[in-house]
């Protein structure tokens, strides 16, 4: 599904990613862990096409297509979704208008007619119930005045609406209490199908108790320095990152 080869990227001339190689197949859950500043968020931002980052070398193919050539919205239409570490507040733009625009733009890309108002609202209700999101939130402006937990839940709600092929969860656990964490993780698990994949970026092993990864990668200084099965998370929790970086 996703194939990253020797990916280098920089911001303001400073190289952050120094040769990432990663292969994600359909149905797989990959976790990416690593200390602060290792390049985890840079990697997710580069994949979704954030204009601040410059790719200097390497290739990324997504379902056989050159991902790096696509505009951010096209990447979304192709099925790439990022759950933001810090979801953005958009005052004045209602959740309903925002989601309707997003859904219909995707349908346009797929050559489908826009959803009828009734169909759309029904879908909103279903998906909202699915992630146990308060109905009051969907009547407000996007993320405006939402608590940290509500913002993250809103990300999963949007994910449920857009049904992506590959979801990247960037530090979805940050700022969540244990109940919210469970609900968000439940949502992610319920949305998983044998055809969809997930990349979970996290600092802590905690989230991986709820979202079980197939593979864990350790990102350090812009490279993946270790990949192993789920047991690696426990080892990292116990020993920290030092032993791996020293091993290098």
């Amino acid at each position: 599904m996703l194939e990253i080869k020797d990916l280098h990227a920089s911001i303001n001339g400073k190289e952050i990613l120094k040769g990432i190689n990663l292969n994600v197949r359909p149905g797989e859950v990959h976790a990416i862990m690593g200390p602060n500043g290792a390049g985890k968020s840079t990697m997710s931002n580069v994949l979704v096409g954030h204009p601040k980052y410059e790719v200097t070398k390497g290739t990324v193919t997504f379902n056989g297509k050159d991902l790096l050539e696509m505009a951010p919205e096209t990447r979304s239409h192709e099925g790439l979704f990022l759950s933001f570490q810090y979801p953005v507040e958009i005052p004045g733009v209602s959740m309903v208008n925002f989601m309707r625009a997003a859904m219909n733009e995707r349908r346009k890309y797929q050559g489908l007619e826009p959803l009828k108002a009734g169909e759309f609202l029904k879908l909103m209700r279903e998906k909202r119930a699915f992630v146990e999101m308060d109905s009051k939130l969907v009547n407000r402006a996007v993320n405006e005045g939402f608590s940290g937990g509500e913002k993250k839940r809103n990300e999963i709600f949007q994910m449920a609406m857009l049904e992506p092929k590959l979801s990247i969860l960037d530090e979805t656990d940050s700022g969540l209490d244990i109940d919210a964490l469970r609900i968000v993780a439940d949502g992610v698990n319920k949305l998983k199908t044998p055809d969809t994949s997930t990349i979970v970026i996290t600092h802590y092993q905690r989230l991986l108790d709820y979202i079980k990864p197939d593979v864990i990668h350790v990102l350090y200084d812009g490279r993946i320095v270790k990949s192993a099965g789920p047991e690696l998370a426990l080892e990292l929790e116990e020993k920290g990152y030092d032993w791996i970086t020293k091993e290098k």
Binding site: E73, S76, L82, A101
Partner: protein
């Protein structure tokens, strides 16, 4: 030659024609007004109040004038078939500043008068002479003086004590000429105690001629009177408008003025509100969407002369290309005006590096028990929000549209007529999408102009 001189000469040469085609009430203050204009001249940037808008170049064009107040051989009713289904409205026309009548005989409550300022002041001179040019004359602004010297007609609205007029009175001011033209028009609006009404003013141009219009509006609100006024300027890039509005509010009166500038060349809106009775309330709101070299200057002055009055101001501008916007909001709270509540907000987005916004809040407070606030920002669209929307599949162009639309939505929400809100939303959306690049007629009333 001094730019003002050609107008002074015009007045001296044509004095007889001007006065013959107007009323005694309107003629009475002409000489003094001209004298004051001669002394002050056309405002340039040297004058503090006009520091962002130099008017000399818009006057430095040879305009035609219509001093014989002729009406063109044209029937505006053909173009303006009012189709605002859900608004009970009566439609009145000014063509080149001359009152041309209503779309149908207005069904007015007893004692209420609506019609030609010239005719009604001829008919009821004693009734209206005390009002005409009282507020404007006191302020002595050079542009209002110019208007007083030259204006020969316009609209008069008189709502007697206790009358609540429920229809929306719509005034379409249409500019139509074969040569570049100067148009001077005048509105006098009097609401006696407890009277109320809603007005919609629309400025439209009919062709690609260069127009300069001056307009002076005087508004008297008696005790407990309520007026909502919605003003839409949708002309074209060759139209300049100088608009002076003077409002006097007695106790417990309420005034709302919402101004929207979508297409214009250069506009200066000077709004002066004097609150002289306790418990009065004013809301001034405005929205500007401008591109190319459009220039819009909203200049407001609210005077709290007595205790317990409230004033709110909300102005938002979106400026593209080389557009220039200016806002100044002066609030004067006199020593006796305790318990004043005054809020002012001016937020602006410059979409390009060459767009310019000048914002100037000015609070002058002499009372000690008041609550006054102001805020002004000039910024760009939020990049993070744009990217967030793109990640969800909304193309950059559409995302910008949604953000701009959201930005001005609270200004549209100050409109208290729901149908009008919806109409304006549609109009703003079309404007932001660039579907209209100049006046395409009155989208509010279904008319069409500007066939070129």
């Amino acid at each position: 030659m001094n730019v003002a001189q050609q107008y002074i000469d015009l007045y001296e040469d044509q004095k007889g024609v001007i006065t013959t085609h107007s009323s005694g009430v309107m003629n009475a203050p002409r000489e003094l007004a001209l004298e004051s204009f001669v002394q002050q001249g056309i405002p340039t940037k040297g004058l503090e109040r006009y520091r962002y808008t130099d008017l000399s170049h818009v006057f430095d064009i040879e305009y035609g004038v219509n001093l014989k107040t002729l009406l063109p051989n044209y029937n505006p009713y053909n173009d303006f078939s009012c189709d605002v289904d859900d608004i009970e409205s009566s439609l009145h026309f000014l063509v080149n500043g001359v009152y041309q009548g209503a779309s149908e005989t207005p069904n007015l409550p007893d004692g209420m008068l609506v019609g030609s300022l010239r005719k009604l002041t001829e008919e009821y001179p004693e009734k209206f002479a005390p009002y005409y040019n009282k507020l404007a004359g006191e302020k002595n602004d050079p542009m209002a003086c110019f208007n007083t010297a030259f204006a020969q007609d316009g609209l008069l609205v008189y709502v007697p004590r206790g009358v609540e007029y429920t229809e929306v009175l719509q005034l379409i001011s249409l500019f139509r000429s074969q040569v570049d033209m100067l148009i001077n028009r005048r509105l006098l609006i009097i609401l006696e105690d407890q009277a109320s009404m809603k007005m919609l003013l629309c400025d439209h141009v009919d062709n690609d001629i260069t127009y300069l219009s001056t307009q002076t509006i005087e508004i008297y609100l008696g005790k407990g009177a309520r007026l909502e006024m919605y003003d839409l300027e949708e002309t074209h890039n060759e139209t300049s408008r100088i608009n002076n509005v003077y409002v006097q509010q007695e106790a417990d009166s309420s005034f709302l003025m919402n101004g929207t500038t979508l297409h214009n060349g250069l506009s200066r809106n000077d709004i002066y509100v004097d609150m002289i009775g306790e418990g009065a309330d004013v809301l001034l709101s405005g929205m500007v969407i401008a591109d190319k070299k459009q220039h819009i200057d909203n200049h407001t002055f609210i005077r709290h002369a007595v205790p317990n009055c409230t004033s709110h101001e909300l102005f938002k501008y979106i400026l593209d290309n080389q557009a220039i916007g200016a806002f100044s909001g002066r609030v004067l709270v006199e020593r006796d005006a305790q318990k004043t509540l005054s809020e002012q907000s001016n937020k602006n987005i410059c979409l390009t590096k060459s767009a310019r916004m000048y914002t100037q809040p000015q609070l002058e407070i002499y009372a000690d028990d008041v609550k006054c606030s102001h805020g002004a920002t000039v910024g760009q669209l939020d990049d993070q929000a744009l990217f967030y929307m793109q990640q969800r599949g909304i193309p950059a162009k559409e995302a910008r549209m949604l953000l701009m639309f959201a930005f001005v939505d609270d200004v549209i929400n100050t409109i208290r007529i729901p149908v009008l809100q919806e109409r304006l939303r549609k109009l703003v959306e079309q404007r932001l999408r660039g579907e209209t690049n100049k006046c395409t007629g009155c989208a509010l009333c279904g008319g069409r102009t500007c066939n070129k």
